[in-house]
Amino acid sequence: MPTESGRPSAPPAPSLDSVTTIRADGSKVVLHPADVAGRFARWRRVVGWALIAVFACLPWIRAGGFPAVFLDLATRRFHLFGSTLAAQDLWLLFFLISGFGFSLYVVTALFGRIWCGWACPQTVFLELVYRRIERWIDGDAVARRRLESAPWTASKVGRRALKHAGFAAVSLLIPHLFLAYFVSLSGLWSMMRASPAGHWGAFAFVAASAAVLYFNFAWFREQLCIVLCPYGRLQSVLIDDQSLVIGYDSVRGEPRARRHRAGDAAAPRAGDCIDCHRCVAVCPTGIDIRQGLQIECIACAACVDACDEVMDRVRKPRGLVRYDSLSGLAGRPTRWLRPRTAVYALLLAIGAVVAAAAFSTVRPATAGVTRMVGAAYFYDAATVRNQFFLRLVNKLDKPQRLEVALRGGTPGAALTGFGAPVEIAPMGEEVRPLVVAVPRAGYAGPFRFTVVVRDAGRTFELRRDAEFLGPDPDLLREEAADAGARR
């Protein structure tokens, strides 16, 4: 079905009843948002390029002998800004994820979908990279729309090929950089020069990611935000009347009138909106912000810049479309402090404190004590003994000497096999048998003890509790008495 205007390339008029970018026949509309300049556009460009710079530079920056962020899945060592975590520290991920969750709650309750418009990789890469390539090659919105409905001439084919080559190049670059976070730049470089057969997994990951990114940024675009993104849906239920959103001041703007000028006697009762449709023309999701807060709005502030520019030109105050709460747009004050924000902030604070405490327990080595398979205990004429494996993991990239000692337990309980410190290679892992023996005469039943692991410099100490198991001491005495009687 053609659009109402009869021009196949023009989007349908935005309405609250349907998604602008999906036509009634189910086909997708290609949006051509107009250029926009202004303070928010400028600041979003600064923030966006700063984020891209962080993403692109982190693998190159080194800290503590490793890239600043190096999630080495192959050896299960996770290097973060100079400190190293092992697979055993994976439980800390809980705090990272819940921290993201609580931060999302607080930020959304206060500032609405600020993430979507300013920091989401979808928005940042789309607006600052892919749409810029499109703008350089295809021209402004009018030219792009004209080109879309133009016949397939050699010039159009050439432009399209050039544009999609650019899209493909960026789509390949992004997953390569992303992979560097997991295999380091040198690992990436050696993989790139080797045949894919040597690293099928990584090759398939990059190829599939590049294909998905290309599809997303070349064609899918705003559909991701509108239909796929669970984060956008979640935010919709976290926003209330006091959250910061981008809205149209209908009290000031209505009734809208075209060609309205300040002091125009012909329209004394007209509102400030001159119905120029600039806010619709610049919208990257194809909505009309004047119809109110909508699920498609990613709060990118393009319409704010567009309207401010028009208001300047017609000499009206800026802010007809602005960042404000729904309450503020209705002329009431915005309450920043309310139960919702207080509870979310409290949860975030508690989470941050617990996370800080958890991270402070991370040591440069880990130790684990597990009982050997087989019988739980052994005894002979002299001793009762338990056998364990002690697993020591060195998380540093230099060798460590670890001292192992026993603490607590029945008097006389002793550890064998750890006279000298255990030397562990850089990033290495050692499994040693750990035998705890108690003189039979001093044995008085099962007890708990602690295995203490210290580095040679005594800068940290790891403690692992374990249980010493054994027979009923009375039975042991009876058996000894029987043996004595028989002799």
């Binding site: 999906i22 997708k28 899918f220 449709h277 052994f378 004429a381």
Partner: protein, 198 residues
């Protein structure tokens, strides 16, 4: 200025679905074509998958794949153990590289019970393990038998080292122990390596 003249908002030309929740109704809109295509593709994939794995059984089922993988591992294991003969182990025990590798493994693991001198209870009655020096053996003194003892463990408390060390390191450590012995020396099987102890 604007390319589009202002138009009246679309009326609700689409039928309303019969349900409402909290007063919110839903139009019966057509789904996006891209969305429908992903649905059709998943349905097609389900049929291909079903046909491949369950109807024609061209693709192996999980049981077959596990059995195949286990038998591959078993074959590899047998191949490495099959080549282990008494003669081969004696030969290894005269090879410095093997013996040195075995010494490292021994000193990291076996010393706990058998002591660095390998003499165990002979040196110190409080030690856990039996002596590995001399001609008295509890669980068999032929090289292949020693490999079996180390791999499977003993009822008196030596754990099965097979899963911990693996075939190669066990072979090396046995070569290290054999370096304290001579081929052809007598083997005496005793109940306990220490005289007078049960």
């Amino acid at each position: 200025m604007s390319e589009q003249p202002p138009r009246p908002e679309q009326g609700p030309e689409d039928a309303l679905r019969p349900h409402t929740f909290d007063g919110i109704g839903e139009y019966d809109k057509r789904l996006p074509n891209w969305w429908l295509w992903t649905l059709y593709l998943t349905i097609a994939f389900a049929f291909v998958y079903w046909f491949y794995y369950f109807t024609t059984r061209v693709g192996p089922d999980d049981q077959t794949r596990i059995t195949r993988e286990i038998s591959r591992i078993e074959t590899a294991k047998l191949a490495s153990i099959g080549s282990l003969t008494d003669e081969a182990l004696w030969k290894m025990s005269r090879n410095t590289a093997f013996v040195e590798a075995g010494r490292a493994t021994f000193n990291a693991n076996c010393v706990t019970c058998h002591l660095a001198s390998l003499r165990g209870k002979d040196e110190n009655p409080g030690a856990v393990g039996a002596s590995l020096i001399g001609t008295k053996w509890i669980y068999g003194g032929k090289p292949v038998e020693i490999v079996g003892t180390v791999t499977k463990g003993t009822p008196r408390g030596m754990p099965p080292w097979g899963p911990v060390l693996g075939t190669r390191r066990i072979t090396e450590v046995v070569a290290y122990v054999l370096s304290y012995h001579e081929p052809g020396e007598p083997v005496e099987i005793v109940a306990s390596a220490v005289a007078g102890m049960k």
